[in-house]
């Protein structure tokens, strides 16, 4: 076992982990931050996407010990200061960007990663950025629409599907 300390959603957290403890296991099992989902555990689906030092990472494909001393952001830290949904989360709700919701935490974290570097992405840029986020339900259309809306673009001409 080794001791690690990570800044998670702005708060310093310490813990003791095995070498093999995945970052997602540390979040979900040790810290009870179960908003980060495990869809595949084979690095394919992106449900476990979080931010490590400000960039999107699959938390099922990183060891907790690798994040020692780093800052980590998860879906639990995305809400506004007053507890309301942030603009990406709100846009997913407004535009039906989810059905079962299993992929949604990863989608929201990937969208946040995109919008940080590209404030008004095109539809093609959004779809390319979501290459590693798989959704079994929605067909992606309303996810893309929600992200366009979250970036302040007019989506009224995009038909609901």
């Amino acid at each position: 076992m080794q001791n690690i300390s990570i800044k998670i959603n702005g708060k310093s957290v310490s813990g003791s982990v095995e070498g093999r403890t995945l970052l997602v296991e540390f979040l979900r099992n040790d810290l009870n931050l179960t908003g980060t989902h495990v869809g595949c555990d084979t690095s394919q689906c992106g449900a476990c996407t979080i931010h490590v030092n400000g960039v999107a990472v699959k938390s099922c494909t990183m060891f907790a010990a690798e994040a020692d001393g780093f800052s980590v952001d998860t879906i639990e830290g995305q809400e506004n200061a007053d507890g309301s949904l942030n603009k990406i989360q709100q846009a997913f709700q407004d535009h039906h960007g989810l059905q079962c919701g299993f992929c949604t935490p990863g989608m929201v974290m990937s969208a946040a990663d995109l919008l940080k570097n590209n404030s008004t992405p095109t539809e093609a840029e959004i779809r390319t950025h979501l290459d590693g986020n798989i959704c079994r339900c929605t067909g992606y259309h309303n996810i893309v629409k929600a992200i366009m809306a979250a970036s302040g673009q007019d989506v009224s001409a995009i038909a609901a599907e």
Binding site: V52, K58, T61, M62, F63, S110, D113, D131, N133
Partner: protein, 260 residues
């Protein structure tokens, strides 16, 4: 996954010392090794992370040489101010989260037959720099998942001569997003080099007939009537040998037309 000891040295000497023990293995971005360990296809007793070694990070362009630290992520290569064939290849590997972790050293050490970087390294005649020596790409790749690297040897950097024009074309295997076939074309003063990944049972290779034709006439017409022998090609549920052989020619043509 079996348990192991995790260490993260801050320089190459300490990494080599840690790797000298039995059953120790280097960890780059873990985008290949962690899935492999989950399947118990690898079970190191000690993992030596190379990502804390600052001398193995970053992209430097000076004169006609791009030098990439062995632990530099695909995302950092994609964002670098280097030639477009290289940055374009890096920006097409996997997906954004994979690119934020995976490294060039890990990709070249692994030498997956469908990986992208081996094509760039071979087509540019890159030099693979390790802790103890320099290996020319032509000597480095020795078939699928096989390289000239020895037991305790890490890739500290890759040096790439800047081409006059280059391009990488990847036909994605839609589920894995690896290359079903990938072609890197690089034009230099003394000739053109063409490296093919994803296609051959023997791993990445140079297509010498196309190189000869393109060195005389760098145009699509020069290679449009050439063909590669399908007998050595990979055949799987994603594509037959003949399909891959055809893709080699088609993608080489596209790479020539897009080269800049």
């Amino acid at each position: 996954m079996y348990n192991f000891e995790f260490v993260k040295p801050s320089n190459v000497a300490d990494a080599l010392a840690a790797l000298a023990s039995e059953e120790a293995q280097a960890l780059g971005g873990g985008q290949t090794l962690i899935p492999t360990m989950k399947q118990r296809l690898a079970s190191p007793e000690k993992l030596v992370s190379l990502l804390g070694i600052s001398e193995m990070q970053g992209v430097d362009v000076s004169g006609n040489i791009v030098t990439i630290g062995g632990a530099t992520t695909h995302a950092n290569v994609a964002a670098a101010d280097a030639f477009s064939g290289l940055t374009g290849l890096a920006s097409g590997i996997g997906d954004p989260a994979v690119r934020n972790r995976g490294t060039i050293g890990g990709s070249l050490a692994n030498n997956d037959p469908a990986a992208c970087y081996p094509a760039a390294a071979l087509a540019t005649g890159a030099t693979i720099v390790t802790n103890s020596r320099e290996i020319l790409a032509d000597d480095y790749f020795q078939g699928m998942f096989t390289t000239a690297l020895k037991e305790v040897e890490i890739i500290t950097a890759v040096r790439i001569p800047v081409p006059l024009a280059s391009n990488y074309q990847k036909f994605e295997q839609p589920a894995s997003r690896f290359a079903l076939v990938g072609v890197f074309v690089a034009k230099y003063v003394d000739g053109v080099r063409v490296a093919i990944t994803g296609a051959s049972e023997n791993g990445v290779f140079r297509w010498s007939e196309a190189e000869a034709a393109l060195s005389v006439n760098f145009s699509y017409d020069a290679i449009s009537s050439l063909s590669v022998d399908a007998s050595d090609m990979i055949s799987d549920l994603h594509g037959t040998k003949e399909y891959r052989a055809n893709l080699v020619r088609v993608l080489t043509g596209r790479a020539v037309l897009s080269a800049s």
